[in-house]
């Protein structure tokens, strides 16, 4: 009788312990601070280029979402952002390597940012998502609808990471 109780006790203990172990192993490590990189437009010579900044992710916050939200924030007083002012992240999901980023309606103002503005925004987002190993491609929607740039076309299934466009003559304006 005692042996059976001890056996059941061990089984229950192992089950509880296993579940707790799973939780401890998979929960976000809210102890260790993490830094993400965000790209912001800066003047460079007679043009504009993106420059990366390290941003510390607050504890308990999803780094990927925080990186995109930080991207939309201007860097300090007088700083600029590659995304239209007021852009918010409505949702961000990653499935099979494809991140689907749903942005608020403010992002649609990108249509008024000119070709260079549109290019900077796309590249900043692709660089931002490129730092996360689980993301290979990016699809952008605005309030659930597929986004189409007025110069570049649909922002669907875009390969993430920094582009290698070396050797193409002049740099970006």
């Amino acid at each position: 009788m005692r042996a059976r109780a001890a056996l059941w006790g061990s089984v229950v203990g192992l089950a509880i312990g296993g579940a707790a172990g799973w939780y401890l192993a998979t929960r976000p490590d809210d102890e260790a601070p993490r830094q993400v990189r965000v790209s912001r437009p800066v003047q460079a010579g007679a043009g504009v280029e993106l420059r990366e900044q390290a941003v510390t992710v607050p504890r308990g916050v999803d780094p990927m979402r925080h990186a995109v939200e930080a991207l939309a924030e201007p860097a300090g007083e007088g700083g600029s952002s590659a995304l239209p002012a007021g852009t918010r992240v409505l949702s961000l999901e990653v499935r099979d390597g494809v991140a689907t980023l749903d942005l608020s309606a403010e992002f649609a103002a990108l249509a008024e940012s000119g070709m260079t503005g549109e290019s900077l925004a796309q590249e900043a987002l692709l660089r931002c998502m490129g730092q996360f190993a689980e993301v290979n491609r990016l699809t952008v929607t605005v309030e659930g609808r597929p986004f189409e740039g007025e110069h570049s076309g649909p922002w669907t299934d875009l390969p993430v990471g920094a582009r290698d466009a070396a050797g193409d003559g002049e740099a970006r304006p």
Partner: protein, 565 residues
């Protein structure tokens, strides 16, 4: 007894939890590691100076991992905390930062992204070589002017005649210049993160320091330079000169011309060894440069004259890079080129671009004023409650250009003639439907930073050489006509990985003209003037005509000017 049982009942699940946590962690990290690209060892250098490390740095395609032993070499002290999960890094200024460590292999390593902000460094990768440089430094592949110097940087001036290390102007707090140290003596000067230190030395060398770097001045003849080592910047001898190029492996023997017809010619560059040609269309004047690494010029001959409608001559040009011989092809008209290695040297094939080599009167053109309808494009207020909209401005210029071309007898179609939205794909599709020769889209540009960029840019798709010729012709003539800076013909790959939609879907030579920047005050003032809009329209018409008739952009169009001109 019951107390022991109760303690056992609590300890059992706890032990099991810790044990299985470790097992899950190992299992998950193994799966995660398998999903990532395997990190490969890379050679690390700090501003060009190799860092000799016992354990190599690793790169997995996304992140650079530094062995902990590299941190002291970057001027960082560290201690491990939380069972080796965190490195508490002491920065040169005394501040500390927590850096979460990664384990791309078994050993804990510092992700560079977590350190970059503290160090003020960024890395540049070339294959397995990675160089750490100050974040403000320029990429060698992108030629740009230096960014605007931060406050505190000494104004540029004549440093000639000043003795080496006469003074360093630390910008923080407006400290007085440091007195000239005796030769060989190092004078540390504290510099806040990211500042630019102007050094009063011959040549006035501005240097960007890493975060909290200590700048040391050393009076070392002859020419001073800046070296960064061990996380500290100091003045020392100038950077070592680039290594001597290897001796030439081949010598040019002769250059022959094989005229296939009036619209095609082959340039044969004969050599006594293998050649790897790389050709590029250059402007001002329009010419083709053929770079031949490892080649030597022929003895006694520096120019070969061609007798062909496309080509005037080939000559040995001034050397641009050590160990690379440059030949320049002087053109008579705009041409498309293709260079390749051959058994006896190299070949450069030249031909008339698609849709060119005839009178513009025979051409069919589609002009595409960008945006329209509910898509206004970029816009800006110009006072008095008025706002300039891109869609209106480009429609005006395109309509004027269409009128100018039609007066010359050209058949012109426009994707829109009123304020309506036209889908992106439908725009180049019109060129296909109308069996047009060229498609030219007209826009104005905008930057998120006001007054950051100005001038005319013309984009072509990817590496389409026909479209590149069209873009070159338009860039020169539109910028000159409108009085704008010529930013040149640029591949749309610079902007978007898959290029611009209207160029991507075009089946005929196509270009997108950005007339100027509405975000730049000087461009804007010109863009809104009706006389400038008319001049820009003439520029567009002339650029198209120059391409079709094969007139080099720097050459005048010979036809008498029309009434508007």
């Amino acid at each position: 007894m019951s107390g022991r049982r109760a303690r056992g009942a609590i300890r059992g699940p706890l032990l099991a939890a810790w044990g299985t946590r470790a097992l899950w962690s190992i299992l998950l990290s193994s799966l995660g590691a398998a999903a990532l690209a395997a990190p490969e060892p890379v050679r690390l250098s700090l501003r060009g100076e190799p860092l000799q490390l016992r354990a190599p740095a690793l790169h997995d395609g996304r992140e650079l991992y530094l062995p902990l032993a590299a941190l002291p070499r970057l001027g960082l002290r560290y201690s491990l905390e939380r069972r080796g999960e965190i490195a508490r890094v002491t920065l040169p200024g005394g501040r500390t930062a927590e850096v979460p460590l990664a384990r791309p292999t078994r050993e804990p390593m510092a992700p560079f992204s977590a350190l970059a902000g503290h160090l003020g460094l960024e890395y540049h990768r070339e294959g397995r070589n990675i160089d750490l440089r100050p974040a403000a430094s320029r990429s060698p592949s992108r030629e740009r002017e230096s960014p605007t110097p931060p406050a505190g940087r000494s104004p540029p001036g004549d440093g000639g005649g000043v003795q080496p290390a006469q003074g360093i102007d630390p910008p923080a707090g407006g400290r007085a210049p440091v007195a000239a140290p005796p030769a060989g003596e190092r004078v540390p000067v504290a510099a806040p993160p990211g500042v630019v230190v102007a050094v009063d030395l011959p040549g006035r060398l501005p240097v960007s320091t890493p975060a909290d770097a200590v700048v040391e001045a050393v009076a070392l003849p002859p020419a001073p330079g800046l070296l960064l080592a061990d996380g500290r910047a100091f003045l020392g001898p100038a950077e070592p000169p680039p290594p001597e190029p290897p001796p030439p492996t081949s010598r040019i023997v002769d250059v022959l011309f094989d005229a296939q017809d009036e619209g095609r010619v082959q340039v044969r560059i004969l050599a006594d060894g293998p050649l790897q040609p790389r050709a590029e269309l250059l402007s001002d004047p329009t010419r083709i440069a053929v770079d031949l690494p490892g080649a030597a010029p022929p003895d006694g001959v520096s120019e070969w004259v061609a007798d062909h409608p496309l080509l005037a001559s080939v000559r040995v040009a001034e050397q641009q890079r050590p160990g690379v011989l440059r030949l320049e092809l002087a053109l008579r008209t705009l041409v498309v080129h293709h260079a390749a290695a051959a058994a006896d040297g190299a070949l450069v094939n030249l031909r008339v671009p698609r849709g060119a080599g005839r009178s513009v009167r025979e051409a069919v053109i589609v002009l595409d004023p960008g945006h329209g309808g509910h898509q206004p494009g970029c816009s800006i207020g110009i006072g008095g409650g008025q706002r300039v909209l891109e869609k209106d401005l480009v429609l005006t210029v395109a309509t004027l250009a269409a009128g100018i071309l039609r007066q010359k007898g050209v058949q012109v179609y426009m994707t829109r003639t009123t304020d309506v939205a036209v889908p992106l794909r439908a725009r180049p599709a019109m060129a296909t439907e109308r069996n047009a020769d060229l498609f030219v889209s007209i826009h104005v540009d905008f930057t998120p930073i006001p007054n950051a960029a100005s001038g005319t840019t013309v984009y072509y798709h990817m590496q389409d050489e026909d479209s590149r010729c069209l873009a070159l012709s338009l860039a020169v003539r539109v910028s000159r006509a409108g009085g704008f800076r010529n930013r040149g013909a640029v591949s749309d790959r610079r902007l978007f990985a898959s290029g611009l939609a209207v160029l991507r879907h075009s089946t005929v030579p196509a270009a997108l003209v950005e007339l100027g920047f509405l975000s730049h005050y000087a461009d804007r003032r010109r863009l809104i003037r009706p006389d400038v809009q008319l001049a820009l329209a003439h520029g567009v018409a002339d650029g198209i005509r120059g391409y079709v008739e094969g007139v080099l952009p720097e050459q005048p169009l010979t036809e008498p000017p029309t009434e508007e001109q």
